[in-house]
């Protein structure tokens, strides 16, 4: 795979010595762990640059995509969910719920294919591949800062966000329906508070807690699911890199990707837990009294 098929015995020996493949397995693993602890994840077999650097280099594109998708999902899912929760029997809510089943069911990759077909192939509105022009603002490189970049970002982030929008919508609706029937909401209404104040202060605060958890945890799976979206839209992020590396059997890159994703997940979980205690004073971190 890494050497040409007509490589002779000497070449193979030299190469496997260079990669350390002649050592016994336990020793290879020991060296591997030792190197990881020193922040060295090896060189990519294919690109021949440090694997960790390769993954980190692609990370901003993925984070940008995931963050945009998350914001889109919140903007689409939460308001519609609140509406559907407050008016569970209206016709519009039923349409929303029907669409949300659609959104949850539709296979992500096929949805991407259809988005390309509609907006790129038929209507020629938006480009379907690549990241476009990358702008720099406050030292951050991102597609958001150029018009071309935004037009490249719309389709992939929309594709990534639809499933989560539907998920958030259903969750918000269920929670709003539950909370809206509680006594303290009735009391707030009886006190003569304005409708918008009841919705946005009283209801939303209580709905917010489970919502934040899900949003936080889903950010992790957004990063994981971006593999599919990045493959379809040729978005130069980590996900595209891992798929390419899997086909090239580029193990150091795969391992680096997994480690980085695991670290990201742990960080996200930590942030969610901390946010939790800020939002809900009943839960406090580390101060068991």
């Amino acid at each position: 795979m890494l050497l040409p098929p007509d490589a002779d015995r000497e070449d193979i020996e030299n190469y496997s010595r260079a990669l350390g493949l002649n050592e016994p397995l336990w020793k290879q693993y020991f060296i591997f762990v030792q190197n990881i602890l020193q922040g060295d994840l090896g060189y990519s077999f294919y690109h021949e640059v440090p694997a960790l650097g390769l993954v980190l280099e692609r990370m901003p594109a993925t984070l940008e995509l995931a963050a945009t998708a998350l914001i889109l999902a919140i903007l689409m899912g939460v308001p519609l969910g609140i509406y559907a929760g407050l008016h569970p029997n209206s016709r519009f809510s039923k349409v929303i719920m029907g669409l949300s089943i659609f959104g949850v069911s539709i296979p992500n990759f096929w949805q991407g294919v259809m988005l390309i077909l509609i907006f790129s192939v038929s209507l020629h509105w938006l480009p379907s591949t690549g990241r476009g022009e990358v702008g720099v603002f406050l030292g951050i490189h991102s597609s958001i800062f150029t018009l071309d970049g935004i037009s490249h970002l719309i389709l992939p982030s929309l594709n990534l966000s639809i499933f989560y929008a539907a998920l958030l919508l259903r969750l918000t609706r269920a929670n709003v329906m539950e909370v809206a029937l509680l006594d303290y909401i009735k009391f707030a209404h009886a006190k003569g508070l304005s409708r918008s104040r009841v919705i946005f202060i009283h209801i939303l605060k209580n709905v917010g807690i489970p919502l934040i958890t899900v949003i936080g945890l889903e950010f992790g799976s957004l990063i994981a699911f971006s593999v599919i979206t990045e493959t379809i839209f040729s978005w130069p992020g980590m996900g595209k890199l891992i798929i390419d590396s899997i086909f090239l059997l580029d193990r150091p890159v795969i391992v680096s990707y997994l480690i980085i994703v695991a670290v990201l997940f742990s960080l996200i979980n930590l942030v969610v837990d901390l946010l939790y205690s800020v939002l809900d004073p009943r839960i406090s971190v580390g101060t068991a009294e």
Binding site: P107, W110, V121, T231
Partner: protein, 421 residues
């Protein structure tokens, strides 16, 4: 709602289930899909796995095109009996096709022109024969040094090929120093091919009938999903049940494994696993099972924990029944309802997961396409004006998943004891 009291629990459940219109729609979709999957070998006009039956020349035909059979072919052997003195006795031959030949009303004649050995072949002397019936004619085994007026000579053999519109001018000249007898062959290839079947949904790049491929794809997707859900459900339940029943170290072990798995999205786990193990239907099932079993384990453990503290379990214990008997015969039936709901919904996610993996090129091989690999195949041709290769299998996939979700949602509503009306 008031249920008729004289119905069995199963009938009552069915009545409750049929209350929702979306659930009925889902059930109908699912019945069609399962029927299609089950009967795929009978229903499909072509066997999409038999590479011998697939012709790449049929590739990327739009929906509604016809599959055409091999063109009919007829080889006529003609013996030229050459007279010594050609000026005296010009050679004239007439061939009439036999009854069983595919162009039975065709007449071919061979006429000598002028005084040298040039012969004109005429097709279809009789007025009711149309030359359009012939697609191509080949002349073979002409003697050495022969010349043909029109047509294209084969580079390697003494064979000439000509299209039907040149037939009227077909003539050949043979050298003078020829023996008295010579056999030539005229190959006639007919224009009218057999219409074997219609590509109702078009064909893919390999010339595979999309309808057959989709039917078989549904079959494979359902087989993979159903078997992985069953296996995951089986092992997950056992793990969850033992964690709940034995507690202690078993519980800790199982729960840590579950946490480990649930903190990582299933798509990543399945992807990495397939990257290591390689493609194939067994590996895909294994990947889905590994991705899904913790869900069952967690659910069963939760339900079993609340069941285990109930009196009937205590009674069974005091009767001296063995732990496996209590676990499987007493506690397990009480976990059935939520387990059925979860398993139903997980079939949908197993189908999606398998399709996603196949789409990424990690799932099933192209020779046995599932719905996901069909969509992936079509994706390459999306931009070149052949969108149906990708759209149609995706649509079927979407319908299947929606059907399962409809049914699963309704099952959850009626089997959930908290919502019991």
């Amino acid at each position: 709602m008031n249920l008729p009291p004289n119905k069995s629990p199963f009938q009552q459940t069915m009545l409750l289930f049929l209350e929702s219109k979306t659930a009925i729609v889902g059930l109908i979709i699912l019945t069609i899909m399962f029927g299609a999957g089950l009967l795929a070998p009978l229903l499909s006009p072509q066997d999409p796995y038999d590479l011998a039956k697939i012709d790449i020349r049929d590739g990327r035909l739009p929906p509604g095109s016809m599959k055409q059979g091999e063109a009919p072919k007829q080889i006529l052997k003609l013996e030229l009996k050459l007279p010594k003195d050609i000026a005296q006795k010009p050679l004239v031959e007439k061939i009439t096709m036999k009854e069983q030949d595919f162009l039975s009303d065709l007449q071919i004649s061979l006429n000598q022109i002028g005084s040298d050995r040039t012969y004109r072949i005429k097709f279809g002397e009789n007025p009711d024969f149309k030359l359009g019936e012939i697609a191509e004619v080949r002349l073979r085994r002409l003697p050495k040094g022969a010349k043909v007026s029109v047509g294209e000579k084969n580079k390697f053999r003494r064979e000439w090929k000509l299209q039907f519109n040149h037939l009227e001018h077909l003539a050949f000249t043979i050298p003078n120093e020829l023996k008295e007898k010579h056999k030539i062959e005229i190959v006639i290839i007919g224009a009218r091919r057999d219409q074997l079947f219609t590509f109702w949904l078009g064909s893919d790049d390999q010339g595979r009938d999309m309808l057959s491929a989709i039917l078989h794809g549904v079959r494979i997707s359902l087989i993979v999903a159903a078997s992985s859900v069953l296996i995951a459900c089986f092992f997950g339940s056992i793990a969850g049940l033992s964690a709940a029943y034995f507690g202690g170290i078993v519980s800790i072990l199982v729960m840590r494994l579950i946490d480990l798995k649930l903190s990582f999205p299933s798509i990543l786990i399945a992807m990495i696993l397939l990257a290591i193990l390689g493609k194939g239907i067994g590996n895909v099932v294994l990947a889905i099972v590994l991705a899904q079993w913790p869900l069952y384990a967690r659910l069963v453990r939760g339900v079993a924990l609340s069941e285990a503290s109930k009196e009937y379990v205590e009674a069974a214990k005091s009767l001296g029944l063995g732990s496996s008997r209590i676990m499987f015969r007493h506690i397990m039936p009480n976990c059935a309802a939520p387990l059925i709901v979860l398993a139903t919904l997980q079939v949908a996610s197993a189908i999606t997961l398998e399709a996603t993996l196949s789409f990424l090129g990690l799932g099933l091989p192209v020779t046995e396409p599932s719905l996901g690999s069909l969509i992936a195949n079509g994706f390459e041709y999306l931009l070149s004006g052949h969108p149906w290769i990708s759209i149609l299998p995706g649509f079927v996939l979407l319908l299947t998943v929606i059907g399962i979700n409809f049914v699963g949602d309704q099952l959850r509503d009626i089997l959930n004891p908290r919502l019991q009306r």
